[in-house]
Protein backbone atom coordinates (compact mmCIF):
# COMPACT_ATOMS: atom_id res chain seq x y z
CA UNK A 1 0.00 0.00 0.00
CA UNK A 2 1.56 3.20 -1.15
CA UNK A 3 0.68 6.35 0.64
CA UNK A 4 -0.93 8.46 -2.01
CA UNK A 5 -1.29 12.13 -1.32
CA UNK A 6 -4.64 12.30 0.37
CA UNK A 7 -6.87 15.21 0.99
CA UNK A 8 -6.24 16.39 4.55
CA UNK A 9 -8.59 14.76 6.97
CA UNK A 10 -11.55 17.02 7.60
CA UNK A 11 -11.63 18.26 11.15
CA UNK A 12 -14.28 16.63 13.29
CA UNK A 13 -17.50 18.45 12.97
CA UNK A 14 -20.80 17.89 14.68
CA UNK A 15 -22.75 15.58 12.37
CA UNK A 16 -25.79 17.22 10.84
CA UNK A 17 -29.24 16.23 11.97
CA UNK A 18 -29.68 14.32 8.73
CA UNK A 19 -26.64 12.16 9.40
CA UNK A 20 -27.69 11.56 12.99
CA UNK A 21 -31.27 10.64 12.19
CA UNK A 22 -30.54 8.37 9.25
CA UNK A 23 -27.57 6.61 10.83
CA UNK A 24 -29.46 6.02 14.07
CA UNK A 25 -32.56 4.81 12.23
CA UNK A 26 -30.47 2.35 10.25
CA UNK A 27 -28.68 1.13 13.35
CA UNK A 28 -31.86 0.63 15.34
CA UNK A 29 -33.76 -1.02 12.51
CA UNK A 30 -31.06 -3.51 11.63
CA UNK A 31 -30.27 -4.24 15.28
CA UNK A 32 -33.92 -4.85 16.07
CA UNK A 33 -34.82 -6.89 12.99
CA UNK A 34 -31.58 -8.67 12.17
CA UNK A 35 -29.04 -8.75 14.96
CA UNK A 36 -31.50 -9.31 17.79
CA UNK A 37 -33.41 -12.12 16.02
CA UNK A 38 -30.17 -13.76 14.97
CA UNK A 39 -28.79 -13.79 18.50
CA UNK A 40 -32.21 -14.85 19.75
CA UNK A 41 -32.24 -17.77 17.31
CA UNK A 42 -28.89 -18.85 18.67
CA UNK A 43 -30.23 -18.65 22.23
CA UNK A 44 -33.62 -20.24 21.55
CA UNK A 45 -31.75 -23.15 19.99
CA UNK A 46 -30.59 -24.05 23.50
CA UNK A 47 -34.10 -23.93 24.97
CA UNK A 48 -37.26 -25.93 25.09
CA UNK A 49 -39.93 -23.42 24.30
CA UNK A 50 -43.46 -23.49 22.87
CA UNK A 51 -44.09 -19.74 23.28
CA UNK A 52 -46.68 -20.39 26.03
CA UNK A 53 -45.28 -22.48 28.85
CA UNK A 54 -42.11 -21.73 30.73
CA UNK A 55 -38.76 -21.78 29.05
CA UNK A 56 -36.51 -24.71 29.87
CA UNK A 57 -32.81 -24.46 29.05
CA UNK A 58 -31.65 -27.75 27.61
CA UNK A 59 -28.09 -27.09 26.49
CA UNK A 60 -27.14 -28.92 23.34
CA UNK A 61 -30.10 -31.33 23.58
CA UNK A 62 -31.79 -29.88 20.49
CA UNK A 63 -28.66 -30.40 18.44
CA UNK A 64 -28.22 -33.91 19.80
CA UNK A 65 -31.86 -34.67 19.05
CA UNK A 66 -31.30 -33.80 15.40
CA UNK A 67 -28.77 -36.57 15.07
CA UNK A 68 -31.42 -39.08 16.19
CA UNK A 69 -34.31 -37.57 14.26
CA UNK A 70 -34.88 -39.75 11.21
CA UNK A 71 -37.27 -37.27 9.61
CA UNK A 72 -34.70 -34.54 10.02
CA UNK A 73 -31.99 -36.65 8.46
CA UNK A 74 -34.34 -37.47 5.62
CA UNK A 75 -35.12 -33.79 5.18
CA UNK A 76 -31.42 -33.04 5.04
CA UNK A 77 -30.97 -35.72 2.40
CA UNK A 78 -33.92 -34.57 0.29
CA UNK A 79 -32.72 -30.97 0.43
CA UNK A 80 -29.19 -32.01 -0.48
CA UNK A 81 -30.47 -33.89 -3.52
CA UNK A 82 -32.74 -31.04 -4.51
CA UNK A 83 -30.14 -28.30 -4.15
CA UNK A 84 -27.25 -30.42 -5.43
CA UNK A 85 -29.05 -31.37 -8.60
CA UNK A 86 -30.98 -28.18 -9.17
CA UNK A 87 -28.27 -25.54 -8.87
CA UNK A 88 -25.73 -26.90 -11.40
CA UNK A 89 -28.37 -27.84 -13.95
CA UNK A 90 -30.25 -24.56 -13.57
CA UNK A 91 -27.11 -22.45 -13.81
CA UNK A 92 -25.98 -24.26 -16.96
CA UNK A 93 -29.37 -23.81 -18.58
CA UNK A 94 -29.45 -20.13 -17.57
CA UNK A 95 -25.99 -19.55 -19.00
CA UNK A 96 -26.85 -21.28 -22.28
CA UNK A 97 -30.07 -19.29 -22.60
CA UNK A 98 -28.26 -16.05 -21.77
CA UNK A 99 -25.58 -16.77 -24.39
CA UNK A 100 -28.21 -17.60 -27.01
CA UNK A 101 -30.16 -14.43 -26.24
CA UNK A 102 -26.97 -12.37 -26.45
CA UNK A 103 -26.55 -13.46 -30.05
CA UNK A 104 -30.03 -12.43 -31.09
CA UNK A 105 -31.17 -9.21 -32.67
CA UNK A 106 -32.79 -6.66 -30.39
CA UNK A 107 -36.38 -7.45 -31.23
CA UNK A 108 -36.41 -11.25 -30.87
CA UNK A 109 -34.20 -10.87 -27.83
CA UNK A 110 -36.75 -8.63 -26.20
CA UNK A 111 -39.64 -10.91 -27.05
CA UNK A 112 -37.92 -14.04 -25.76
CA UNK A 113 -36.70 -12.28 -22.66
CA UNK A 114 -40.24 -11.17 -21.87
CA UNK A 115 -41.50 -14.69 -22.36
CA UNK A 116 -38.89 -16.30 -20.15
CA UNK A 117 -39.34 -13.63 -17.54
CA UNK A 118 -43.06 -14.18 -17.05
CA UNK A 119 -42.46 -17.16 -14.73
CA UNK A 120 -40.11 -15.02 -12.63
CA UNK A 121 -42.83 -12.50 -11.82
CA UNK A 122 -45.51 -15.14 -11.37
CA UNK A 123 -46.14 -15.69 -7.65
CA UNK A 124 -45.26 -19.20 -6.51
CA UNK A 125 -48.82 -19.69 -5.34
CA UNK A 126 -50.18 -19.14 -8.84
CA UNK A 127 -47.41 -21.20 -10.45
CA UNK A 128 -48.39 -23.98 -8.08
CA UNK A 129 -52.01 -23.82 -9.23
CA UNK A 130 -51.00 -23.80 -12.88
CA UNK A 131 -48.68 -26.75 -12.50
CA UNK A 132 -51.06 -28.64 -10.31
CA UNK A 133 -53.36 -28.68 -13.28
CA UNK A 134 -50.65 -29.08 -15.92
CA UNK A 135 -49.24 -32.12 -14.11
CA UNK A 136 -52.67 -33.74 -13.89
CA UNK A 137 -52.39 -37.22 -15.40
CA UNK A 138 -55.61 -37.18 -17.30
CA UNK A 139 -56.25 -33.55 -18.12
CA UNK A 140 -52.71 -32.24 -18.34
CA UNK A 141 -49.29 -32.70 -19.86
CA UNK A 142 -48.91 -36.45 -19.12
CA UNK A 143 -52.15 -37.14 -20.94
CA UNK A 144 -51.07 -34.94 -23.81
CA UNK A 145 -47.77 -36.78 -24.15
CA UNK A 146 -49.54 -40.14 -23.99
CA UNK A 147 -51.86 -39.00 -26.78
CA UNK A 148 -48.99 -37.81 -28.95
CA UNK A 149 -47.03 -41.04 -28.47
CA UNK A 150 -50.01 -43.29 -29.04
CA UNK A 151 -50.65 -41.44 -32.29
CA UNK A 152 -47.11 -42.40 -33.23
CA UNK A 153 -47.87 -45.98 -32.29
CA UNK A 154 -45.91 -46.02 -29.05
CA UNK A 155 -47.60 -46.97 -25.81
CA UNK A 156 -46.57 -44.74 -22.95
CA UNK A 157 -48.04 -44.16 -19.56
CA UNK A 158 -46.90 -40.81 -18.31
CA UNK A 159 -48.51 -39.93 -15.00
CA UNK A 160 -48.53 -36.99 -12.63
CA UNK A 161 -44.91 -36.71 -11.44
CA UNK A 162 -46.02 -35.44 -8.04
CA UNK A 163 -47.97 -38.63 -7.36
CA UNK A 164 -44.95 -40.88 -7.05
CA UNK A 165 -42.17 -40.96 -4.48
CA UNK A 166 -39.56 -41.35 -7.18
CA UNK A 167 -40.50 -38.38 -9.32
CA UNK A 168 -42.15 -35.85 -6.99
CA UNK A 169 -38.89 -34.06 -6.20
CA UNK A 170 -38.04 -34.03 -9.89
CA UNK A 171 -41.40 -32.43 -10.64
CA UNK A 172 -40.79 -29.57 -8.22
CA UNK A 173 -37.25 -29.24 -9.52
CA UNK A 174 -38.65 -28.80 -13.01
CA UNK A 175 -41.04 -26.12 -11.79
CA UNK A 176 -38.25 -24.31 -9.98
CA UNK A 177 -36.05 -24.46 -13.06
CA UNK A 178 -38.88 -23.08 -15.17
CA UNK A 179 -39.54 -20.30 -12.67
CA UNK A 180 -35.98 -18.98 -12.44
CA UNK A 181 -34.61 -19.70 -15.93
CA UNK A 182 -35.32 -16.21 -17.21
CA UNK A 183 -33.83 -14.55 -14.14
CA UNK A 184 -30.42 -16.19 -14.44
CA UNK A 185 -30.45 -15.86 -18.22
CA UNK A 186 -30.98 -12.11 -17.93
CA UNK A 187 -28.07 -11.74 -15.54
CA UNK A 188 -25.80 -13.73 -17.85
CA UNK A 189 -27.08 -11.78 -20.84
CA UNK A 190 -26.19 -8.48 -19.20
CA UNK A 191 -22.79 -9.86 -18.24
CA UNK A 192 -22.07 -11.07 -21.76
CA UNK A 193 -23.15 -7.74 -23.19
CA UNK A 194 -20.56 -5.98 -21.05
CA UNK A 195 -17.73 -7.92 -22.65
CA UNK A 196 -16.00 -5.61 -25.14
CA UNK A 197 -16.85 -6.53 -28.72
CA UNK A 198 -13.27 -5.99 -29.83
CA UNK A 199 -12.32 -9.20 -28.04
CA UNK A 200 -14.73 -11.16 -30.20
CA UNK A 201 -13.62 -9.37 -33.34
CA UNK A 202 -9.99 -10.17 -32.61
CA UNK A 203 -10.93 -13.81 -32.02
CA UNK A 204 -12.88 -13.93 -35.24
CA UNK A 205 -9.91 -12.55 -37.17
CA UNK A 206 -7.77 -15.23 -35.55
CA UNK A 207 -10.26 -17.78 -36.86
CA UNK A 208 -11.98 -18.79 -33.63
CA UNK A 209 -15.47 -20.21 -34.08
CA UNK A 210 -18.48 -19.65 -31.86
CA UNK A 211 -17.60 -22.48 -29.48
CA UNK A 212 -14.00 -21.37 -29.02
CA UNK A 213 -15.10 -17.78 -28.61
CA UNK A 214 -17.40 -18.89 -25.83
CA UNK A 215 -14.77 -21.11 -24.25
CA UNK A 216 -11.94 -18.59 -24.30
CA UNK A 217 -13.63 -15.20 -24.05
CA UNK A 218 -17.16 -15.44 -22.69
CA UNK A 219 -16.60 -18.13 -20.09
CA UNK A 220 -13.53 -16.65 -18.32
CA UNK A 221 -15.10 -13.21 -18.23
CA UNK A 222 -18.46 -14.49 -17.03
CA UNK A 223 -17.07 -16.53 -14.14
CA UNK A 224 -17.42 -13.83 -11.45
CA UNK A 225 -21.12 -13.57 -12.35
CA UNK A 226 -21.38 -17.35 -12.29
CA UNK A 227 -19.86 -17.36 -8.81
CA UNK A 228 -22.24 -14.71 -7.46
CA UNK A 229 -25.24 -16.40 -9.02
CA UNK A 230 -24.13 -19.78 -7.77
CA UNK A 231 -23.83 -18.58 -4.18
CA UNK A 232 -27.21 -16.86 -4.24
CA UNK A 233 -28.79 -19.86 -5.98
CA UNK A 234 -27.64 -22.22 -3.24
CA UNK A 235 -28.97 -19.87 -0.59
CA UNK A 236 -32.25 -19.45 -2.44
CA UNK A 237 -32.75 -23.09 -3.39
CA UNK A 238 -32.26 -24.41 0.13
CA UNK A 239 -34.92 -21.99 1.36
CA UNK A 240 -37.58 -22.74 -1.26
CA UNK A 241 -40.73 -23.38 0.69
CA UNK A 242 -43.95 -22.47 -1.14
CA UNK A 243 -44.27 -25.35 -3.67
CA UNK A 244 -43.37 -27.95 -1.06
CA UNK A 245 -45.79 -26.51 1.44
CA UNK A 246 -48.74 -26.01 -0.87
CA UNK A 247 -48.29 -28.59 -3.60
CA UNK A 248 -46.79 -31.80 -2.25
CA UNK A 249 -47.06 -31.03 1.47
CA UNK A 250 -43.83 -32.97 1.85
CA UNK A 251 -45.28 -36.08 0.28
CA UNK A 252 -45.72 -38.64 -1.03
CA UNK A 253 -44.43 -40.12 2.20
CA UNK A 254 -41.51 -37.86 3.06
CA UNK A 255 -40.19 -37.70 -0.48
CA UNK A 256 -40.38 -33.92 -0.69
CA UNK A 257 -40.21 -33.09 3.00
CA UNK A 258 -37.35 -30.63 2.63
CA UNK A 259 -35.38 -28.83 5.32
CA UNK A 260 -37.35 -25.59 5.14
CA UNK A 261 -40.71 -27.35 5.30
CA UNK A 262 -39.69 -29.56 8.20
CA UNK A 263 -38.36 -26.54 10.08
CA UNK A 264 -41.61 -24.67 9.55
CA UNK A 265 -43.65 -27.63 10.74
CA UNK A 266 -41.56 -28.16 13.85
CA UNK A 267 -42.11 -24.52 14.77
CA UNK A 268 -45.68 -23.83 13.72
CA UNK A 269 -47.34 -27.26 13.85
CA UNK A 270 -45.46 -28.83 16.76
CA UNK A 271 -44.61 -25.56 18.53
CA UNK A 272 -41.08 -26.79 19.13
CA UNK A 273 -39.52 -23.37 18.73
CA UNK A 274 -36.26 -24.38 20.38
CA UNK A 275 -35.77 -27.34 18.12
CA UNK A 276 -36.70 -25.36 15.01
CA UNK A 277 -34.29 -22.58 15.97
CA UNK A 278 -31.49 -25.08 16.36
CA UNK A 279 -32.35 -26.34 12.88
CA UNK A 280 -32.26 -22.80 11.56
CA UNK A 281 -28.75 -22.42 12.95
CA UNK A 282 -27.72 -25.62 11.19
CA UNK A 283 -29.14 -24.25 7.96
CA UNK A 284 -27.26 -21.00 8.46
CA UNK A 285 -24.01 -22.91 9.03
CA UNK A 286 -24.52 -25.07 5.96
CA UNK A 287 -25.13 -22.01 3.78
CA UNK A 288 -22.18 -20.17 5.32
CA UNK A 289 -19.87 -23.10 4.62
CA UNK A 290 -21.22 -23.46 1.09
CA UNK A 291 -20.71 -19.76 0.35
CA UNK A 292 -17.26 -19.49 1.90
CA UNK A 293 -16.00 -22.65 0.21
CA UNK A 294 -17.23 -21.46 -3.18
CA UNK A 295 -15.43 -18.16 -2.67
CA UNK A 296 -12.29 -20.01 -1.62
CA UNK A 297 -12.37 -22.35 -4.60
CA UNK A 298 -12.94 -19.41 -6.91
CA UNK A 299 -9.98 -17.58 -5.46
CA UNK A 300 -7.49 -20.41 -5.74
CA UNK A 301 -8.60 -21.42 -9.20
CA UNK A 302 -9.11 -18.13 -10.91
CA UNK A 303 -6.53 -15.78 -9.56
CA UNK A 304 -3.06 -16.12 -10.90
Amino acid sequence: MATVARAPRPRWRRPSSFVLVVALALLIYYMLFFTAPFIAALVIGFLNWDLLSTVVPVGFDNYVAMADDRTFKNALKVSAIFVGAYVPIALSAQLILGAILANMRTLPQKVYLTLFFLPVVTPWLIAVLMFGYLFNTQAGLPGMLNDIFSALGIDTSFVNPLGSKDTALLGIMGMTGWKFLGFGALIFLVGINEIPLTLYEAARIDGAGAVRQFRHITWPLIRPIMLALSITSFIGALQIFDPFFVMTRGGPGDATNVFSLYLYRQAFDQFRFGYASAMAMVMFLILLILSVSQLAIARTRWEY
Binding site: A25, R105, L115, A228
Partner: protein, 300 residues
Protein backbone atom coordinates in the same frame (compact mmCIF):
# COMPACT_ATOMS: atom_id res chain seq x y z
CA UNK B 1 -28.98 3.06 -23.03
CA UNK B 2 -27.46 0.20 -24.97
CA UNK B 3 -27.43 -1.97 -21.89
CA UNK B 4 -29.18 -4.75 -23.68
CA UNK B 5 -28.05 -4.02 -27.21
CA UNK B 6 -27.16 -7.16 -29.06
CA UNK B 7 -23.70 -8.28 -29.90
CA UNK B 8 -24.26 -8.28 -33.60
CA UNK B 9 -26.16 -5.03 -33.88
CA UNK B 10 -23.23 -2.99 -32.65
CA UNK B 11 -20.55 -4.76 -34.65
CA UNK B 12 -20.50 -2.52 -37.65
CA UNK B 13 -17.41 -3.13 -39.77
CA UNK B 14 -14.75 -0.63 -38.82
CA UNK B 15 -12.40 -1.22 -41.71
CA UNK B 16 -13.52 -0.38 -45.20
CA UNK B 17 -13.79 -3.66 -47.04
CA UNK B 18 -15.15 -4.38 -50.44
CA UNK B 19 -18.86 -3.81 -50.33
CA UNK B 20 -19.73 -7.20 -51.77
CA UNK B 21 -17.91 -9.22 -49.15
CA UNK B 22 -19.33 -7.02 -46.41
CA UNK B 23 -22.77 -7.64 -47.80
CA UNK B 24 -22.14 -11.38 -47.94
CA UNK B 25 -20.81 -11.69 -44.42
CA UNK B 26 -23.55 -9.51 -43.11
CA UNK B 27 -26.13 -11.60 -44.92
CA UNK B 28 -24.64 -14.75 -43.46
CA UNK B 29 -24.75 -13.26 -39.99
CA UNK B 30 -28.33 -12.14 -40.50
CA UNK B 31 -29.37 -15.58 -41.62
CA UNK B 32 -27.58 -17.16 -38.66
CA UNK B 33 -29.24 -14.78 -36.23
CA UNK B 34 -32.72 -15.47 -37.57
CA UNK B 35 -32.10 -19.20 -37.80
CA UNK B 36 -31.32 -19.09 -34.09
CA UNK B 37 -34.59 -17.32 -33.44
CA UNK B 38 -36.56 -19.95 -35.31
CA UNK B 39 -34.72 -22.93 -33.85
CA UNK B 40 -35.37 -21.46 -30.47
CA UNK B 41 -39.08 -21.02 -30.97
CA UNK B 42 -40.20 -24.44 -29.63
CA UNK B 43 -38.21 -23.92 -26.43
CA UNK B 44 -39.94 -20.66 -25.69
CA UNK B 45 -43.33 -22.13 -26.52
CA UNK B 46 -42.59 -24.87 -23.99
CA UNK B 47 -41.78 -22.20 -21.41
CA UNK B 48 -45.07 -20.48 -22.11
CA UNK B 49 -47.08 -23.70 -22.18
CA UNK B 50 -48.23 -23.57 -18.53
CA UNK B 51 -49.64 -20.09 -19.13
CA UNK B 52 -51.29 -20.95 -22.42
CA UNK B 53 -52.77 -24.11 -20.92
CA UNK B 54 -54.13 -22.24 -17.92
CA UNK B 55 -55.66 -19.38 -19.89
CA UNK B 56 -57.31 -21.73 -22.40
CA UNK B 57 -58.53 -24.24 -19.86
CA UNK B 58 -60.09 -21.64 -17.61
CA UNK B 59 -62.87 -21.36 -20.22
CA UNK B 60 -63.52 -25.09 -20.52
CA UNK B 61 -66.64 -26.76 -19.15
CA UNK B 62 -66.11 -29.42 -16.46
CA UNK B 63 -66.95 -32.24 -18.89
CA UNK B 64 -64.49 -30.88 -21.39
CA UNK B 65 -61.74 -30.70 -18.79
CA UNK B 66 -62.38 -34.23 -17.60
CA UNK B 67 -62.90 -35.80 -21.01
CA UNK B 68 -60.36 -38.41 -22.03
CA UNK B 69 -59.49 -36.77 -25.29
CA UNK B 70 -57.56 -33.61 -24.67
CA UNK B 71 -58.73 -30.52 -26.45
CA UNK B 72 -56.66 -27.40 -26.72
CA UNK B 73 -59.29 -24.81 -27.37
CA UNK B 74 -62.49 -24.61 -25.33
CA UNK B 75 -65.49 -25.52 -27.44
CA UNK B 76 -67.57 -22.80 -25.87
CA UNK B 77 -66.82 -19.70 -23.89
CA UNK B 78 -67.65 -21.08 -20.45
CA UNK B 79 -67.59 -18.38 -17.78
CA UNK B 80 -69.00 -20.14 -14.73
CA UNK B 81 -65.47 -20.54 -13.36
CA UNK B 82 -64.94 -16.79 -13.44
CA UNK B 83 -68.30 -16.02 -11.88
CA UNK B 84 -67.65 -18.51 -9.12
CA UNK B 85 -64.09 -17.33 -8.51
CA UNK B 86 -65.11 -13.71 -8.22
CA UNK B 87 -67.96 -14.56 -5.91
CA UNK B 88 -66.33 -17.09 -3.61
CA UNK B 89 -62.66 -16.21 -3.44
CA UNK B 90 -61.68 -12.90 -1.88
CA UNK B 91 -59.54 -12.02 -4.89
CA UNK B 92 -60.32 -8.31 -4.98
CA UNK B 93 -59.76 -7.96 -1.27
CA UNK B 94 -56.54 -9.93 -1.56
CA UNK B 95 -55.37 -7.70 -4.35
CA UNK B 96 -56.23 -4.55 -2.45
CA UNK B 97 -54.35 -5.81 0.61
CA UNK B 98 -51.32 -6.84 -1.41
CA UNK B 99 -51.16 -3.59 -3.32
CA UNK B 100 -51.60 -1.55 -0.14
CA UNK B 101 -48.98 -3.42 1.86
CA UNK B 102 -46.46 -3.60 -0.99
CA UNK B 103 -47.14 -0.02 -2.03
CA UNK B 104 -46.47 1.48 1.39
CA UNK B 105 -43.43 -0.75 1.83
CA UNK B 106 -42.03 0.27 -1.53
CA UNK B 107 -42.60 3.96 -0.86
CA UNK B 108 -40.81 3.68 2.45
CA UNK B 109 -37.96 1.58 1.13
CA UNK B 110 -37.32 3.92 -1.78
CA UNK B 111 -37.03 6.94 0.49
CA UNK B 112 -34.88 5.11 3.04
CA UNK B 113 -32.65 3.70 0.29
CA UNK B 114 -32.04 7.17 -1.09
CA UNK B 115 -31.36 8.57 2.40
CA UNK B 116 -28.98 5.81 3.35
CA UNK B 117 -27.38 5.86 -0.08
CA UNK B 118 -26.72 9.58 0.32
CA UNK B 119 -25.39 9.00 3.82
CA UNK B 120 -22.92 6.32 2.77
CA UNK B 121 -21.88 7.86 -0.54
CA UNK B 122 -21.42 11.50 0.43
CA UNK B 123 -21.37 11.99 4.18
CA UNK B 124 -18.53 11.54 6.63
CA UNK B 125 -19.21 10.43 10.15
CA UNK B 126 -17.70 8.30 12.83
CA UNK B 127 -18.32 4.58 12.33
CA UNK B 128 -19.53 4.94 8.76
CA UNK B 129 -17.67 1.96 7.34
CA UNK B 130 -18.60 -0.20 10.29
CA UNK B 131 -22.28 0.63 9.88
CA UNK B 132 -22.10 -0.07 6.16
CA UNK B 133 -20.42 -3.43 6.62
CA UNK B 134 -22.98 -4.28 9.28
CA UNK B 135 -25.84 -3.57 6.89
CA UNK B 136 -24.14 -5.48 4.08
CA UNK B 137 -23.68 -8.47 6.34
CA UNK B 138 -27.43 -8.72 6.85
CA UNK B 139 -27.66 -9.64 3.17
CA UNK B 140 -25.81 -12.86 3.98
CA UNK B 141 -28.25 -13.94 6.66
CA UNK B 142 -30.75 -16.39 5.19
CA UNK B 143 -34.35 -15.62 6.05
CA UNK B 144 -34.83 -18.93 7.84
CA UNK B 145 -32.03 -18.13 10.29
CA UNK B 146 -34.03 -15.25 11.75
CA UNK B 147 -37.49 -16.49 10.87
CA UNK B 148 -38.60 -17.87 14.23
CA UNK B 149 -37.25 -15.11 16.49
CA UNK B 150 -38.64 -12.55 14.05
CA UNK B 151 -42.00 -14.15 14.56
CA UNK B 152 -41.52 -13.79 18.31
CA UNK B 153 -40.44 -10.15 17.92
CA UNK B 154 -43.52 -9.28 15.88
CA UNK B 155 -46.06 -11.44 17.65
CA UNK B 156 -44.93 -11.03 21.26
CA UNK B 157 -42.67 -8.02 21.75
CA UNK B 158 -44.21 -5.63 19.26
CA UNK B 159 -47.57 -7.39 19.49
CA UNK B 160 -48.53 -6.47 15.93
CA UNK B 161 -49.61 -9.86 14.62
CA UNK B 162 -52.64 -9.52 12.34
CA UNK B 163 -51.93 -5.93 11.40
CA UNK B 164 -50.83 -4.38 8.12
CA UNK B 165 -47.84 -3.05 10.03
CA UNK B 166 -46.49 -6.56 10.50
CA UNK B 167 -46.40 -7.02 6.74
CA UNK B 168 -44.97 -3.58 5.95
CA UNK B 169 -42.28 -3.28 8.59
CA UNK B 170 -39.91 -5.91 7.15
CA UNK B 171 -39.73 -3.91 3.93
CA UNK B 172 -39.12 -0.42 5.30
CA UNK B 173 -35.36 -0.69 4.81
CA UNK B 174 -33.68 -2.75 2.14
CA UNK B 175 -29.96 -3.44 2.35
CA UNK B 176 -29.90 -4.12 -1.34
CA UNK B 177 -31.56 -0.84 -2.24
CA UNK B 178 -29.10 1.00 -0.01
CA UNK B 179 -26.21 -0.72 -1.72
CA UNK B 180 -27.37 0.18 -5.22
CA UNK B 181 -28.24 3.79 -4.42
CA UNK B 182 -24.90 4.25 -2.69
CA UNK B 183 -23.09 2.90 -5.73
CA UNK B 184 -25.06 5.17 -8.00
CA UNK B 185 -24.51 8.27 -5.87
CA UNK B 186 -20.78 7.60 -5.79
CA UNK B 187 -20.74 8.52 -9.46
CA UNK B 188 -22.44 11.86 -8.81
CA UNK B 189 -19.87 14.68 -8.64
CA UNK B 190 -19.45 16.25 -5.21
CA UNK B 191 -19.51 19.73 -6.75
CA UNK B 192 -23.20 19.35 -7.38
CA UNK B 193 -23.84 18.91 -3.68
CA UNK B 194 -21.16 21.34 -2.51
CA UNK B 195 -22.58 24.18 -4.55
CA UNK B 196 -25.94 23.70 -2.88
CA UNK B 197 -24.28 23.52 0.53
CA UNK B 198 -22.46 26.77 -0.14
CA UNK B 199 -25.78 28.29 -0.99
CA UNK B 200 -26.85 27.44 2.51
CA UNK B 201 -28.93 24.31 1.95
CA UNK B 202 -28.85 21.78 4.77
CA UNK B 203 -28.59 18.03 4.26
CA UNK B 204 -32.34 17.58 4.32
CA UNK B 205 -32.83 20.11 1.54
CA UNK B 206 -29.97 18.66 -0.49
CA UNK B 207 -31.53 15.26 -0.08
CA UNK B 208 -34.97 16.41 -1.11
CA UNK B 209 -34.05 18.76 -3.97
CA UNK B 210 -30.91 17.15 -5.38
CA UNK B 211 -30.42 13.54 -4.30
CA UNK B 212 -33.99 12.33 -4.64
CA UNK B 213 -34.65 13.69 -8.15
CA UNK B 214 -31.17 12.65 -9.25
CA UNK B 215 -31.57 9.01 -8.28
CA UNK B 216 -35.02 8.69 -9.83
CA UNK B 217 -34.09 6.00 -12.33
CA UNK B 218 -32.25 3.84 -9.81
CA UNK B 219 -35.07 4.26 -7.32
CA UNK B 220 -37.62 3.23 -9.95
CA UNK B 221 -35.72 0.01 -10.53
CA UNK B 222 -35.50 -0.67 -6.80
CA UNK B 223 -39.18 0.15 -6.33
CA UNK B 224 -40.37 -2.31 -8.91
CA UNK B 225 -38.14 -5.13 -7.73
CA UNK B 226 -39.22 -4.50 -4.16
CA UNK B 227 -42.83 -4.40 -5.20
CA UNK B 228 -42.69 -7.74 -6.98
CA UNK B 229 -40.76 -9.26 -4.10
CA UNK B 230 -43.15 -8.21 -1.39
CA UNK B 231 -46.21 -8.81 -3.56
CA UNK B 232 -45.23 -12.46 -4.03
CA UNK B 233 -44.23 -13.03 -0.43
CA UNK B 234 -45.95 -16.01 1.15
CA UNK B 235 -44.26 -17.50 4.20
CA UNK B 236 -44.16 -14.31 6.27
CA UNK B 237 -47.84 -13.37 5.75
CA UNK B 238 -48.69 -17.02 6.34
CA UNK B 239 -47.45 -16.86 9.93
CA UNK B 240 -48.28 -13.20 10.56
CA UNK B 241 -51.89 -13.07 9.40
CA UNK B 242 -54.80 -15.13 10.69
CA UNK B 243 -57.50 -12.59 10.03
CA UNK B 244 -58.92 -13.30 6.58
CA UNK B 245 -59.65 -9.63 5.99
CA UNK B 246 -55.92 -9.04 5.90
CA UNK B 247 -55.15 -11.91 3.52
CA UNK B 248 -52.75 -10.88 0.76
CA UNK B 249 -53.14 -12.35 -2.71
CA UNK B 250 -50.81 -15.33 -2.15
CA UNK B 251 -52.79 -16.28 0.96
CA UNK B 252 -56.04 -16.03 -0.97
CA UNK B 253 -54.53 -18.20 -3.70
CA UNK B 254 -53.62 -20.76 -1.08
CA UNK B 255 -57.27 -21.01 -0.14
CA UNK B 256 -58.07 -21.47 -3.82
CA UNK B 257 -55.61 -24.37 -4.03
CA UNK B 258 -57.10 -25.92 -0.94
CA UNK B 259 -60.56 -25.71 -2.53
CA UNK B 260 -59.59 -28.06 -5.36
CA UNK B 261 -62.57 -30.08 -6.37
CA UNK B 262 -64.42 -31.30 -9.41
CA UNK B 263 -64.32 -27.83 -10.96
CA UNK B 264 -60.80 -27.01 -12.10
CA UNK B 265 -62.15 -24.18 -14.23
CA UNK B 266 -62.99 -22.22 -11.07
CA UNK B 267 -59.49 -22.67 -9.75
CA UNK B 268 -57.96 -21.81 -13.10
CA UNK B 269 -60.19 -18.78 -13.46
CA UNK B 270 -59.01 -17.59 -10.06
CA UNK B 271 -55.41 -18.03 -11.16
CA UNK B 272 -56.05 -16.13 -14.37
CA UNK B 273 -57.66 -13.31 -12.40
CA UNK B 274 -54.75 -13.33 -9.98
CA UNK B 275 -52.05 -13.44 -12.59
CA UNK B 276 -53.31 -11.14 -15.34
CA UNK B 277 -52.79 -7.83 -13.49
CA UNK B 278 -49.27 -8.94 -12.58
CA UNK B 279 -48.53 -9.75 -16.20
CA UNK B 280 -49.85 -6.35 -17.29
CA UNK B 281 -47.82 -4.63 -14.58
CA UNK B 282 -44.77 -6.53 -15.73
CA UNK B 283 -45.27 -5.66 -19.38
CA UNK B 284 -45.66 -1.96 -18.54
CA UNK B 285 -42.64 -1.75 -16.25
CA UNK B 286 -40.54 -4.40 -17.93
CA UNK B 287 -37.78 -1.98 -18.85
CA UNK B 288 -37.29 -0.94 -15.24
CA UNK B 289 -37.37 -4.51 -14.04
CA UNK B 290 -34.75 -5.58 -16.53
CA UNK B 291 -32.62 -2.58 -15.62
CA UNK B 292 -33.06 -3.19 -11.92
CA UNK B 293 -31.96 -6.76 -12.19
CA UNK B 294 -29.09 -5.77 -14.40
CA UNK B 295 -27.99 -3.25 -11.75
CA UNK B 296 -28.32 -5.62 -8.84
CA UNK B 297 -27.25 -8.79 -10.54
CA UNK B 298 -24.04 -7.73 -12.12
CA UNK B 299 -22.80 -5.03 -9.85
CA UNK B 300 -24.18 -6.43 -6.62
Amino acid sequence: MGLLGTRSAASAPTVATSSLSTFRSRLRRDVAAWALVIVFLPVSVAAALPFIWMYLSSFKTPTEIHSLTITWFPSEFYLEGYEYALEHFALVRGYANSVFVSGIGVLASVVTSAMAGFLFAKKQFWGKNLLFIFILSTLMVPFFAIFIPSYVVYAVFLNIKDTYMALILPHVFTAFGILITRQFLHSVPNELIDSATVDGAGDWRVFWYIILPLSRSVLAAIAILQFLGSFNEFLWPLVMVDNQNLYTLPLVMRKVTAAQGPHPSRMLAASVLGLTPIVIFFLIFQRHIVRGIALTGVKG
